[in-house]
Every structure is written in C-alpha cells, then in structure tokens.
Subunit: 486 residues, 2 copies
C-alpha cells in the first residue's frame, strides 16, 4: 500500500488511481450513492459543476441555442429504430418494467442519451424549411449501466448537457458540429485551463449512429487521455429512423441533417486529473468554488481584529466579483492551510495581528514559486493593493495552469515510427503514429498496450507511410493520436 501524506491521501506521484479515489472523497467533492455505480455530488463538487454549467451555457446561448427539457423515459421500441444506436447502447440500459403498481405494456428505458426521443419530437415540430434550423440543448441526467464505476469518470448516472440540432443541409449540420467542437475546446482552455487535442474519431470509436464524431482529449497527470466532450454529425441516420423531414423551398420533401454534442460531469474528473498534485486538488480559478481563502490568525481576543478585517476584505472582493471565503473555524492555521491546499483553492491569504497593524496581508498561490525550503513564497500586499490585485492574479494563475498543462502534455507526446517506441510512448503519454485504419489492427494494439486511437488531430500535418503496427499503408492522410484512456 502506498504511503499516505499528512492529508490522508496517497500521493499522486506514487499511485494516481489511489490518489484520485481517495481525494474525491477527502476533498468532499463526491460520495458513493447506495445503488451500484451511482454518485452523490457534494456541495463543493456541485459548485464546480454549477460554475461549469453557467459558463458553458452562456456559450451555447451566444451561439444561438435555447434550452429545453425532454422526458427521462423512452419507450423501448424507440431505441431499436436506429440499428447501430441500439447495438451500441443495449448493454448499458436501465429499464423500468413496473410503474403505478402494475407491469407496463411496453418497458421504458431510462435515457442513456436522447437522440431517439428528441428525434420523435423534431419529426412532429418540423414540416417546412422555415422550421429549420432547430438549435436545442438540454441539461439533464442520463443513465448508462457501469460495471466498473468510478466517481465522475464512469458512473451509472451522470449529469450532462446534450445539444441536438436539425438542419436543412449537410453543410450546415457539419458547420454546427464543428462549431460546438470548437466551443468545447475553447471552454476547456479558457475555463478549465486544459489544452485539448482536437480531432476526429476513427470509425471504431464513433458514437453509435453517427457519421462523424469529433472529440476533445485532455492529457491527465499520468499521461492517460480523458475524452472530455464530443460532437457528432449524425447525417440523416436519425432523420430516417424518426422521419424528420421537411418541404424545401422547391416544395420537395427532404430529410433533415442532425447533430448532437455533449459534455458531462466527467469534465470534473478531467479537472482533478489534469491539474492535481501530491497536496491535493488544484482548481482552475474560473471553476473554483472559493478563489481566495482568507485565514485570520490569532488566539482569543487577539483574533478579533484580524477576523473582522478578513470579513471586510472578503466583502470587498465579493463586490469585485471574486469568490472569497473567510475560514474562521476553531482550528489551527496549519490545519486550515493543509485543508485549503487539499481543496485546491488558488489563493491563500494570512492575516495575523501584526499584519493587521502593518496594514497588509500575506498571499500565497496554490501553485507557484517556492522558497529554498520548498514552501510557497508569500507576497506582502497592502489591503487596498490586495483587493485590487486579486482579479488580475487569478487570470495570471489561470494562464500559469494552462501553460503548465500544455508543457506537460507536449513533453509527454511524441511521434513514433516503430512499435517498440509506440509501446514506450503510450506507457507515459500520447503517441502520434501512422495507422492502417483497420479495426482488427486497432484491437491488436489495444490488446498489446491498452492504448486506443484517441483521435485524428485536426491540426496534424499531411503524412503517409506504413502502419506502426502492421506495416500496411496508412489511412487518414496524417498521424493518429494513441493513448491509454480513462
């Protein structure tokens, strides 16, 4: 068993898996639910989700989308209408067979995703080209039965958003697919501070029923990939299955082209695994429930002044739009510092009686410069200076995390041209390799290394050659990113 740190959490540097499993509970992000594979998102974790939600939702609205709500229960027969779709989702379905004290005539599936039920409604709502495009998103819970559940990463029930759009032409639908793909990558970069590899999935990794699937793939601290959002061009597959058709401008009946795209509570797992360290969580400031924690120091009567000032400063920060918190619990400063470090708060501020007298605070960053004893360097800032400086410091801190993640990713990514190099590379990160494009060869690589093709990067250079595994001619016209994945 790995040695636990003072925090009661196995260090990340020793065992990423144990670190993750212990940290999500210890930091009170989540807990296990009673039913197998379900999770409780605790207030600290849910606040991360709310911050993610509001900032992502704003991007959806800015790109012309509106929200709606579709039913949780889907008649079983609907799933069967799109052949690939049902094949992909059948093993994961939860089914309601009894309700209101009776057995149902037709079982109801708890939605694993909503293409089918939304397809049915779009068929009703769309009759003319004037009804298009339809640009709808929904924030919802979905259920996919998990045999090996992991909090945030793979849970039987999870929260997500699913966009579903219908268009008059392939070009328009593809444009939408790529637009939302870019929205996800931009969001991951500018909100979660994760630089994503953007690319198209190989046929074997596509969404069940899609013509093309695009994904954003983040690199975690152990070099594994985590798929953090997907955008699908569904062609006319669901339009055929659900009769989503319209009269075009020439009065001819056409099938609509549809898309779907989703991001889920998995993204919280990505944030934990992309930024964390031995001391615990490292939260990007735009998703941090608490951006600045102020710890007043002093005992008894001596504590009064610092505490009052701390609350005054927190109120000023709140007015400037900063999420500030005063920790005036009855506990030692050392305990508090460790606790907020574990919880990943970006900026930590100390304020003792002597600081109060001197009119300043001491501020340390969760990640930043260290002194020669390996401790965080503290900046001394006058009160007004401090309040004025925080918003900018948070932005700088965001860039620091993003840059750190980018450097880490680039240092753990490499082109490889033979299978020995491939095996060594996927053990530590992303391998960029030429591949023949055959499913059996993908399976073979997976069996040998546990790595799978994550995506064909959109920004990859044109290149042809021999498959890294079987030597056949390469497909795709460029290298594919392979990695072990969550």
């Amino acid at each position: 068993m790995a040695k636990k740190s003072d925090l009661g959490v196995t260090p990340l540097s020793e065992d990423v898996s144990a670190w993750y499993n212990e940290l999500v509970f210890k930091a009170e992000l989540a807990d296990r639910g009673p039913a197998k594979g379900t999770m409780v998102i605790r207030p600290y974790g849910y606040r991360v989700w709310e911050l993610l939600q509001s900032q992502l939702d704003q991007r959806f609205k800015d790109t012309g989308h509106v929200n709606a709500s579709f039913p949780l229960f889907i008649p079983e027969s609907y799933l069967k209408r799109e052949a690939e779709h049902v094949e992909g989702f059948s093993p994961e379905l939860a089914v309601v067979t009894h309700a209101g004290g009776k057995e149902l005539e037709e079982p109801l599936v708890v939605r694993p995703t909503s293409e089918t039920i939304i397809g049915e409604m779009y068929s009703k709502w769309i009759s003319s080209y004037r009804d298009l495009p339809i640009l709808i998103n929904q924030w919802a819970n979905v259920v996919r039965w998990e045999l090996r559940p992991r909090v945030f990463l793979r849970t039987t029930e999870f929260l997500w958003q699913e966009g579903h759009t219908a268009h008059a032409s392939k070009d328009e639908a593809m444009e939408e697919t790529l637009r939302m793909f870019d929205v996800y990558a931009e969001f991951a970069r500018n909100v979660a501070a994760i630089p994503m590899v953007q690319g198209e999935k190989t046929p074997g990794e596509r969404f069940a029923g899609a013509v093309a699937t695009f994904s954003i793939e983040g690199m975690m601290r152990d070099g594994k990939a985590l798929q953090s959002g997907t955008s699908h061009y569904l062609g006319t597959n669901f339009a055929k299955a659900f009769d989503i058709s319209f009269q075009d401008e020439n009065n001819e009946l056409q099938l609509a082209h549809t898309t779907s795209w989703g991001m889920s509570t998995r993204m919280i797992g990505a944030v934990i695994l992309a930024h964390g360290d031995d001391q615990g969580l490292v939260l990007p400031p735009r998703l941090a429930p608490i951006q600045v924690v102020i710890v007043p120091i002093g005992r008894g009567e001596q504590a009064e002044g610092p505490r009052a000032k701390a609350h005054e400063l927190a109120a000023q920060l709140a007015e400037a739009g900063v999420r500030a918190h005063v920790d005036d619990r009855d506990a030692s400063p050392g305990f508090k510092f460790n606790d907020w470090e574990l919880k990943g708060v970006p900026l930590r501020v100390e304020l003792g009686p002597r600081d109060l007298e001197a009119g300043h605070v001491l501020m340390a960053q969760r990640i930043g410069e260290l002194d020669d004893k390996g401790r965080a360097v503290k900046d001394t800032l006058g009160f007004d200076e401090f309040v004025a400086a925080v918003p900018d410091r948070l932005d700088v801190y965001h860039e620091l995390l993003l840059e750190r993640a980018r450097t880490f990713r680039d240092e753990h990514s490499a082109p490889v041209d033979d299978f020995d190099a491939f095996e060594a590379q996927v053990a530590v990160g992303f391998a960029c390799a030429l591949h023949c494009g055959e499913a059996s060869c993908e399976d073979d690589i997976k069996a040998a290394t546990a790595a799978t093709p994550r995506c064909i990067p959109v920004d990859g250079d044109a290149e042809e050659g021999a498959c890294v595994r079987c030597g056949k001619a390469s497909a795709y016209g460029k290298r594919v990113v392979f990695a072990r994945a969550y």
Copy 2:
C-alpha cells in the same frame, strides 16, 4: 364544443380546462412526451423555468443553502424504512427491475422525492453537533406515476427543487421550515405576481412522513386553488428511520430534526392559470422570456429603416437588462400582434416608417387601459424616453398583475357559516369555514362538493364554533380555507 377564438384556442371565459390544454401547446410552452404522462418542456416554457430557477436559487443561496446532487435511483428497501412515507408514495412509484442486460437483485425505485436517500447520506456525514445544520438543496427530476396527467400540473416526471436540511433542535428545524415557507410566498408574490394564501395543512393533507406541512395556495382564474410550494417539518421521523444522529455538546447522542421543502414546474401551471385570459398567456415580467417585443412595420424597402431602428432599440434595452426581441418575421403585423398576445409578452411596441420619421414608438401593454373600441391604448414615446421608461414600466406592470390577482382572489373568497353557503362559495372560489378537524368529515365534504381543506391560514383570526358540515366543535382555533383544487 366551445367556440375557438381567432387564436385557435377556446376562450378561458367559456371553458378553463380546454383553454389551458390548448394554450400550453399553442403557445409552445410544452408538448406531450411519448411515454404516458410525460411532458416535453419546449424552449419558450423552459425559459420561464430557467428564470424561475435562477431567481429562486438566489433566494436559497441568500439564506445560506448550497446545492448538491443525489442519485435518481433509490434501493426499494429504503422507501420502506419510514412507514407513512412508503404508504404515501407506493402507488406512484416507477421501478427499474433490469439493468445492464440482467435482472437486478434489488429493484431500484426512480425517486419520487429524496428524503430517504438523502437521509442515508446525512447519517454518514453527520456525527457531531459541529456538523449541523446541513442546508442542502437539489434541482432535479422526480417521477410519480400519474393516472390523469396534465401538462405542468400533474406529470409522471417533473422538474423541481427539493431542500433537505438537518438541525440540532426542533426549534431550529421549525424556524427553517417557516423561513422557506416565507421564501416561497415572497417569491410567488414578487416574481410570479401571485398573492398566496399561506397556511398549515390539516393532518389528512400532510406530506407522507411529516409532522407539519405548510403550503402556499394560489387562486386560479376559475376560483380553484393550486398548491404551489410546500415546506415540511419532519421531526425526527426520518432521523429515526435512517439513523441521523449526533453527539451534542454534552457528548450525548441525539436525533437530528429534519425539514424538506419543494417547488416544481407546477408553478408554471400556476402562472398560466392565475394570470391568463381569453387572448392567451399573461406572463409576469420577471418570468417572461420576452419582456418587450418590437414589431417593425412596413413593406419592402420601407421596412429597412424601422427594422434597423428596432434592432438598435432592442440592443439598448438588452444593455439595460431588459429581455427584448425584434419580430422581423415575414408575416403581417396583425398576425404578430395576436401571436405575442397569445404568448403573454408584457409590452408590445410598433415602429413604422412614419414613427421612425417622428422619432417615436407606439407601446401597448398586454393588460392595461382599453380605448372605447376595446383595444389596448397605445402610448407614444420618443426613442430615448422609451428605452429609459421600460424597466420602470415592467415593475409597474408587475404590480398591476399582482393587484389584479389579489383583487380577484379577495372577491372570490368569503367566510361561510352554513353548508349551503359553503357549497355556493367553493363553486366560485375559496370558502373560509370552521371545521371539526375529523378526516371523515373532510372526506364527506369532498364527496359532496369536490372541495378539500387547502390550509389553515397563518394570518387567520382566532375563532371557535360549530363545524360547517357536521356541527361538532371546531378544531384549529380558526377558520380553514376550503376550495376545489388542481
């Protein structure tokens, strides 16, 4: 069959039920889902829910609550731990018996409400008085099987929030129960423009498992009551069933006192039924997706100027925090005016080429003064004057709706002292009557008149006397509000 208006909707004044059923679809608030009793909330209706959500959530945060997310699936055995609770909810449960291709060892209930699963988690999280109070809310979907579903009012699945709190003492828990009860009433008044009757439920109408239930009851346009939010003091019932106990300051083991409180998408039904009229929806401005619609008038080239100016004005309004929309669809002004009237937009603005030249707009209110031909009076406002006036006009309009609803309610409420008067009164509104408090007498009244005790109003005067139905001595020390209810 009732005569339909020009709008294709049966007038409210002829048949409230037909009017409601037709209007929710016609105004594109909602649609029926494929599975029995489920609904699709369409973007226009969902926007109302989002506005409700954000304003209610702010009130929860302001009173110290945090959000979290608990699982959809509850092991069947949990429901059975609180005897009254399982008795109350059993007939309405939807049950998952199969998942992941197998029959489950223990069936999972789709949550009808979350006291049980949250109780289980609180038991885990609470051990000392220092862990209390816990003040958590969740926004979620719940399922209660409905035999006679009605969009927004009674659906198999609905959206709601459910607050669940745990406290060290009865006093604290009761204070919380009443605080949230007041938050609901204040929200209904100041956001939905509905003056609620606030009161405690009689024992027969209590939440299954509660010690005391408080509700807000709105009067609809047909004189019926609609229960719009409830707040429950649960005593130690769930604490006993789920072992939510803590060490108090004297190191003695105590049971926690818990509360729960909820408001749902039913509130959208209340808004429709409390304010609507023969022309369609009448939305209170703080819940209206569109607060001001600007209709540019003119054909061909003549339309260009008004349209450009309309978008300019809408942008200025948006900057002032007003939800403004320009209707530049290719349709006649008459069609547009009817459409926005049906959709309940508070302020409607016309802008034609001559108005543009004169530098003004014509503004009409959805509800307001009428000219001698029965048409809405239009105000002429200069462009700047118009932009500056709108926020205040919306507030005045809110007060107008609230006052109108209050007058309507008061005119349709009366004290009654004999059963003939009682029957006549509940046919048109609320009857305030003395009652013996016996369940069988409540049942008898319901069988005779369809009316039920809605609540014992908190602001009722002390009064004793004979039961309006059976003549026995009155209970409760004051009059009870009876009404037919949704």
